[in-house]
Amino acid sequence: MNGTGNIVALKPFPDAARLELDDAQLRANLRRATHTIRDKRLRVVGEVDDWEALRRAGAAIKDDVLARLPELLEQFEASVTRAGAVVHWARDADEACEIVTRLVQETAAREVVKVKSMATQEIGLNEALEAVGIEATETDLAELIVQLADDTPSHILVPAIHYNRSQIRDIFRSRMPGAAADLTDDPPALAEAARKHLRAKFLSATVGVSGANFAIADTGTLVVVESEGNGRMCLTLPQTLISVVGIEKILPTFAELEVFLQLLPRSSTGERMNPYTSMWTGVTPGDGPQATHVVLIDNGRTATLGDEVGRQALRCIRCSACLNVCPVYERVGGHAYGSVYPGPIGAILSPQMTGEGANKTLPYASSLCGACFDACPVRIDIPQVLVHLRQKGPKPPAERAAFRSLAWIMRDRRRYAAALRAARRGSAPLRGFGRLRRLPWPASAWTDSRDVPLPPKQTFREWWAKR
């Protein structure tokens, strides 16, 4: 039973990467962002004397969870049911989307507000809801930017990392209802515009949809870690709350949070603690949603669990530290991985969850430098799993050639420039809202199903050369 949804890359990594490498703006934004978060992370991790002890505990707790997963899932189900929630199980993305869609339809709501959640992106929930006429509004600022731009996230934690402030202003001005025509690109002004836009939706929404960072077996508690307060709004104001949770998110006891609430914020945003963490257990009369649902999803997780070496990927707490230290990610960005899980973790998680398809090239999307292992708060040995998957997987000559061509492109800056000029010429008649709807053959197979960023009119290097 393989996972389905937005984890199946439609294009082999090297082909997708070649397109992304052509985007100088994307690379500049990514470089600045990943280096900034990386430095912050190092500073706050350095403050914690027992960091290595916490990492070892975090890894071991997760391994213990995998060994006891059936019992812990049943215990979680019993606890959260006792607390007033309804539990649903979904084998794959389609089944999960069907369940959530049905639950929303039963409330007669035409609109839902969403907390940023990898699981709902993974199953393609927004698209499924849209197909039956239910509008799903992403309320995390970065997710909102990406959604308004008709784009896909490029980073687990900062999904709009590939946009700079003036691009965000342009997206708001042209796509956000009620945005002022003279909106500036000052970050506080942009944040204020998003606040106004979303406020009305929060106060009127009757259904909220979330994921969860952790699901506690002994108490039935769900945990959401966030920054902006949009999560609290979605978890508190609606009458109905539906949470989509991967089966590997279980922790045995509430006390284990003492480890993970230290590891996660410092590894992800590089803060001592994220601004807001919400924990709720079923239904509390008079406080928050009075109907709560938990949809437990497999979607390829049990396939991953069966591999002795590869199963450590299920320890992942989605902090994104491995993305920020990865030299390959820094150059190609998140889109090239063709999955909602990009970067080093995506390279080992997506192929295992999906079992086959273009994802087979993902284990080659790494230089095996080892920086990801050092950064990982739950000690996932990503290079070890990559090597294992490369050995295990079929090695058709085309894939080897593809990996070589990726290395070839990354090695030489002149080739970026040549590829970029070619892409720009090809796209001249297609310029619209700064995105390409369709690339000329042979890239058309990819753009048939998704948009790619338009290459800039002039690269920095061309501009520099003309001076």
Binding site: A67, R232, P265
Partner: protein
Amino acid sequence: MSDARTEILARVRARRPASAPPVPRDYRRDVPGIDVVEVLVDRLADYKAGVHRASAVSLADVLGGLLTASSTVVVPPGLPASWIPGPVLRDSPGAPVPVAALDAPGVTVVTGVAVAIAVTGTLILDAAPDQGRRVLSLVPDHHVCVVWMDQICGGVPAALGRLTDPARPLTLISGPSATSDIELNRVEGVHGPRRLDVVIATR
């Protein structure tokens, strides 16, 4: 075909590792050698929260000073009446304050806290009577939180261990709401309260 629950649990059972080594617990349960009050003050200031000191005697005056510009002061059901001399809008299970009233301009909410964490600058609210429903500390633009010194723990393990009932709705607050989504510039005040004032008080 069996139902999803049966099938998933069967697959998990068939594929899980046989066992896992014991969990090493050599991380610290407390943070030795720090002045928890000083560290908490430092962290809160770093998050751009306002920090104030009071005694049991001066608390009402200190709070009064923070509330001069407020249009309405909302309090949870169990907040001691003596803390705020002026008129308040008291939330109660029988007469909950409507969300629209909480959203009005200039509203301040005053709450207590369950536990605070010094090294992370975190306030933990557990919906006890002096903290109230989650929405009270979420929708108003200004949150004033009173922390008694003996509620401050050094680190995360000690603080979580002090919570009396983890099944209550819990909110961990570390500074005003913030985003770093635009070129990683930190902008305070997105959807939660844009101002957070913390009063650290001695009993």
